[in-house]
Point group: C2
Chain length 303, copies 2
């Protein structure tokens, strides 16, 4: 396939204009978001929904995530990431395969239906995970575009994916909230530096390849500022696959946890990597023939 | 001298009630702060002043700190700390010895006079420094009470000192602001773990001895919350020597810099360490006979 977004360049960073729409559907009154939300998403590259789930539903998700974490040892090793300096569970990949509840959440109309609207296509899960960022020792996650990695290492051809981060803890400005550079999704930053073999083995703990230069980040942040998302558990942040984001470390006692689902358009399935020798493993990038999600209506809190 | 605040304990953490006043002067209308500011300081353990210096004065201090940092190589090595993973200047100790301007600032009525009121005594500088916390890679500083270290390792007998942190960059919630646990100054936390030899050589980069347990921090933060200070350059935070504080790392492009002066009462001069074999070096703890500061009135911006 043609490479619209060259990256992992030997000779230096290269900025190119986005060649894809941001909002792939025309808004009308039947849309799952308001017109101003649609405009915000198109312009800023993200959208925050604070009222998607009931208190009961949020409670069930928190309880389920707590149990999953406790049972971390039982989960197959390839789906598990632990903190660099301890054995604490940091990430559980392929979340929907380890939990009926989160499988239901991933297919929920409020999540998958909204993603389908944003992407103007049937959707499937490209990647999913449950993240735990402990209090006191939670590490930072440096600025990056998810699409840059998915394009380079997973072979995702176009910018037609959206991440949904569902908060499972309250998030304040002080406990490592998601920070985003608004409008950054409109430019693709082809990064400097070729992809090492098995880059994901280190990049999941600390990303050093595939990140923009400090000079570029400085300029973008000076122009557009840095947004961050505060909110109670249950808040969902939909952010476009090319929006630059990161989070600070966290010495407060308050942990940060979220469930993370990447929805990709079925027409945008991953093929051969554009800038890596071999594709990343299945737990990071769903590579089979995409199976479209049939969104499920109704609540699940009472179960 | 009698040890009112035992710490660095072999057998476990031990909490004792503060045995010293917080505000050592009686407030009246001649005080340099309002009555409600005095009450806030007594109750919370810190006080923020946003209007002490003129725009010109702040500009001169920023410019002076920039030059000091650039000339870091010329400063004597013992007064210099660099970032763990780079050579960038992180801290310049004995700031007033390296800069006439900051010597003037340290003796300014608005700083030293205010400290003299809070401490009810003549004051001298126990420690001073210029701190740089760069953007992108600024490291966290974990929760601690300054007094715990000064008592254990410098032999400061009583809680009769106050730190003044003068911001030289704008500080937001996202670029590693000072966080404080309000009210924590009313309890002394004797920490678990004996002091290693030359502990300051590692504790300045990453403090691991002399810090409260996670359990205790969790309880204190749950009871009182965590305050943080946002403000433009020129903001000054006076915090009581036993107030627990720390700061998160910072991946934003915005650096954090401040000038830091510890005022101690002349009647509270350091003697033999209470919980270390030998005292820390002079750049960390002024140990001679205290020389009282004569506060200087007037502005310095036009010079």
């Amino acid at each position: 396939a043609e490479d619209l977004y060259p990256t992992r360049l030997a000779d230096g960073e290269m900025m190119t204009l986005r060649k894809d729409p941001v909002l792939w559907s025309d808004w009308d009154e039947s849309a799952p978001i308001t017109k101003s939300e649609a405009e915000h998403y198109a312009e800023k590259g993200y959208l925050v929904r604070r009222d998607l789930f009931s208190k009961d539903e949020v409670g069930v998700m928190i309880e389920t995530s707590r149990k999953l974490r406790e049972q971390g040892q039982r989960i197959r090793a390839e789906d598990l990431i632990t903190e660099p300096e301890s054995e604490a569970v940091r990430t559980i990949f392929r979340l929907e395969e380890h939990s009926d509840l989160f499988d239901r959440v991933a297919r929920d109309e409020r999540m998958a239906g909204l993603a389908r609207f944003l992407l103007g296509d049937d959707v499937y899960i490209h990647q999913s995970r449950l993240n735990y960022k402990p209090g006191f020792t939670g590490k930072e996650f440096y600025w990056h575009s998810d699409f840059e990695t998915w394009h380079a290492e997973d072979g995702m051809p176009r910018m037609r994916a959206v991440s949904a981060s569902l908060l499972l803890t309250d998030n304040s400005a002080l406990n490592g909230p998601l920070m985003l550079i608004p409008g950054s999704h409109l430019t693709f930053i082809g990064t400097q530096g070729e992809t090492p073999d098995a880059n994901h083995e280190s990049s999941l703990k600390k990303q050093e390849i595939g990140v923009p230069s400090q000079e570029t980040l400085k300029r973008l942040a000076a122009e557009a500022g840095i947004d961050h998302v505060e909110g109670p558990a249950g808040t969902v942040i939909f952010f476009e696959c090319n929006t630059l984001h990161g989070s600070n470390g966290n010495i407060t006692p308050d942990p940060r946890s979220n469930a993370f689902f990447v929805y990709n358009a079925v027409s945008n399935a991953s093929a051969e990597p554009f800038a890596a020798k071999s594709p990343r493993p299945d737990y990071l990038a769903n590579r089979g023939t995409p199976k479209a999600i049939q969104p499920v209506k109704g609540s699940f809190g009472e179960a």
